[in-house]
């Protein structure tokens, strides 16, 4: 029994078992309830958008890693996650070529150009969304009303194929009739025309908080159900992917000024709950701003980062050139992360200035 063939290596000899693919997979699971709901709400077209975007991202990852002479990295599921996250920020009827370009841009420009996973300064999915929004403003602001998968008004699977891949709607379906402004867009346009918030969102537009919370409103795939997104967010926190710091500070950063302005002038500024359940605030706070690679590593840094993301979101939503500001806010703050990290280094044990003796 003298084999003397032991593995040697430095301590520690045990490991938590956590791995990068596991982290990515957890986020994908957390996203699933909201993703499934978006298919139920927006129909087959939403599913096609998700599949095309994710496939584009994964294929780009495979091609680029091969070109860079690296071993295949699609196993770590980060590319699939990026694709899926991007899809969640797209309108339900996004044409296939926009999806393909978006998925490829996220991986190629958003990630590998900077050196691959872990080195990208910007959230790849969001930088790609921003790119698409600026490059293809028409396709990216085309908001169909919710058309439930099993409802009468929805597209059949073959009709959805026609819409996504052919760009044509079935005869008799008027584009104007099936689309409309998102609540945030409606608010900006109408209030900009001098109406009060109540007039803008009430009346024929018929904004309903209950529907908004449940996800039955127009918008991107991931701008639907606040409840399911929160569920996913809590699941990720339960699995210790991230702490409460970024999401909570981002929500507070957006809702605190919203509350103040609402209290000052409720005719002109919608209430904070409106800001919470419409648009991509919750998706951004729990799935985008928490991206490990592009957010600060210290708790203090995360609070600053999140609060600024939220504040910028509110500023853009209220006074900016776009009705929705989550993507811009997070991408802008991504660029400040190295600086934040520099200034929020933790106090090392035994080096506190006023350590008592």
């Amino acid at each position: 029994m003298n084999q003397e063939k032991w593995v040697v290596g430095t301590s520690p000899h045990v490991h938590s078992g956590d791995s990068v693919p596991q982290v990515m997979q957890t986020v994908i699971w957390a996203l699933m309830p909201a993703a499934v709901l978006s298919v139920l709400v927006f129909g087959w077209a939403a599913l096609l958008v998700m599949i095309v975007t994710t496939l584009s991202a994964v294929l780009t990852e495979e091609v680029v890693t091969r070109m860079r002479g690296r071993s295949s990295a699609i196993g770590d599921r980060s590319a699939a996650l990026t694709g899926l996250l991007l899809a969640m920020t797209l309108p339900p009827h996004t044409p296939w070529w926009v999806c393909v370009v978006g998925g490829a841009f996220a991986i190629l420009i958003g990630k590998h150009l900077y050196g691959g996973l872990g080195h990208n300064p910007f959230n790849p999915a969001l930088i790609s969304r921003v790119f698409l929004l600026i490059s293809f403003p028409v396709e990216m602001t085309y908001w169909p009303h919710p058309t439930p998968l099993f409802g009468d008004s929805g597209l059949s699977l073959s009709q959805a194929f026609g819409v996504i891949f052919g760009g044509h709607y079935p005869p008799g379906m008027l584009v104007d009739a099936i689309t409309g402004a998102t609540p945030l867009g409606q608010y900006r346009i109408e209030v900009g025309l001098g109406k009060s918030v109540q007039e803008a969102l009430g009346g024929s537009y018929g904004f309903d908080y209950f529907k908004a919370t449940g996800g039955m409103i127009g918008g991107s795939l991931g701008e639907t159900s606040a409840v399911l997104l929160l569920l996913g967010g809590f699941y990720m926190m339960y699995r210790r992917l991230f702490t409460w710091h970024v999401p909570v500070s981002m929500l507070v950063g957006c809702l605190a000024p919203a509350t103040i302005f609402y209290l000052v002038n409720p005719d002109h500024y919608p209430d904070p709950f409106f800001h919470l359940v419409t648009g991509g605030l919750i998706l951004g706070a729990f799935f985008m701003a928490t991206d490990m690679v592009t957010s600060p590593v210290t708790a203090r840094g995360q609070l600053i980062f999140g609060a600024c993301c939220g504040l910028l979101t509110y500023i853009i939503r209220t006074w900016g050139g776009y009705p929705e500001g989550v993507s811009f806010a997070i991408v802008i703050m991504n660029s400040a992360v190295p600086l934040i990290d520099q200034f929020t280094r933790p106090t090392v044990y035994g080096k506190a200035k006023n350590s008592k003796k």
Partner: protein, 556 residues
Amino acid sequence: MGIALSVLRRFHGGVHPPENKAISAGAAIEVMPLAKRLFVPLHQHFGAPCEAVVQTGEKVLKGQILGQPQGFVSSPVHAPTSGTVVSLEEFPVHHPSGLPMLCAILEPDGEDRWLPGLKGLEDPEKAEPAAIRRLIQDAGIVGLGGATFPSFIKMSPPKGKVAELLLINGVECEPYLTCDARLMEERAGGIVEGIRIMLRALQTGECVIGIEDNKPAAVKAMEVAAKADGGRIRVVRLPVMYPQGSEKQLIEVVTGRQVPSGGLPVDVGVIVHNVGTALAIRDAVREGKPLISRVVTVSGRGIQRPANLEVRIGTPVQDLVDHCGGLKPGVVKLVSGGPMMGVAIHTTRAPVVKGTSGILALLAEEVPASREQGCIRCGHCLQACPMSLMPNEMAWLARHELLDKLAEHDLFDCIECGSCSYVCPASIPLVQYFRFGKFAIRNRDQEKKKQEISRARTLAKEARVAREQEEKERKKAEMKAGMAAKKKAQVEQVPDPSAVPSVSATAPAGEAKSASVAAVPGGDDKAERAARAAKSAAAAKAAKAAKAARQAKDAE
């Protein structure tokens, strides 16, 4: 009263790996039979190695000194039993480097006869602290928690520092290990006796024993023993969290104070000793027995019969494994110590030493091997770091050998507990990077020092050569001047030879010189200039050399 908090604090970070203590927790301490041969390394402690004081072939008695300490931070090594020293040679030991070390190889005679004359103190609690310290020092007692720092040094607080609290470490936060838990359960009385002796030596009245609450039996036993002593000793239960058994973290939890960076626990009024050390101190001070055995946990899912063994120092690991029924098939790694900070063993021939707290036989399922990936900046290492460092940035700096930056990032505050590596989802061997970084910085500093010394030497040599040269030049010039004076004298002698004696006899030296200058203006001027130049150059060089020497001295 006292500095121990009534409400415990938490230290930053930490991890909670599977405890795996149940494997061996139920096994009472067994005294392991004497091995056929003992391999006693002459360097088993933190500090300078010992020098052998026995010869090959010499017969020694149990407790006789084999290695005499060299320098202050050192500790003697004793014969674990009586027998013959068959050889003094390099032998494999448990060291991360895998390098062999000088060992005294002892063949026991089976009589196990003590060295006569070993005697402790009759009443240690009335003894002089210095006498107690002397016994601890002579007994070769080092920190048995694994750090192996000579205990007597900790027992003598430097001038101006007061030990307010004696903190006894019964935390045993490393997974698998149960030797301290068993000691507390079975020998609580002895530990308390050791504590009383230490309190006497430290001239302090407050003592806290910290035990994690996954060891209820140990807590109970210690509480009973502490109560018997009176109110001085307090047992505190700590929530399970690795690395709570690390000195700095334990101090923070119990007192709320942080040991200053680069400082010692006594800087915040605390002295920390392991429970095993307390027991060893009792044996040394009461009975004069040197440290020749310790309790070792033999565990892991790869061992047939997990156990807690009382083993003589120098017993080969193979003997322990055999005593425990051998290994199960599928063992991939053997670890000396705990799984978080222990050293992987490359051979079972290596002996148990003073710092060996456990021998773990681990199956593949217990030590997952995975490939290092890129950092995804998840920040889990920051959350886990008990020293509040930024392991992610430090690893990056170490990888790129940016040593100055690395030192700025408080690399030397890292206690190498392994929490960061444990949680890293990208399986980055962070601790290994930090060990490399520390080594590289020390190495570089040493090289720098060497270079400075050799530079100072070179400059000193140059200065000496220049001085000698100058001396030569001066002599030459003098000779020339002398010759010229002679010549002139000869010239002057021609017209009036009778006048010469009077000139040479009466003219002062200055006059002779001016006369010589006047005689051969060109030649002499040149010589003088050369001498002056040589002199100033030499002076400059000497000044430079002196400066370099000063710098070298400062660097030291």
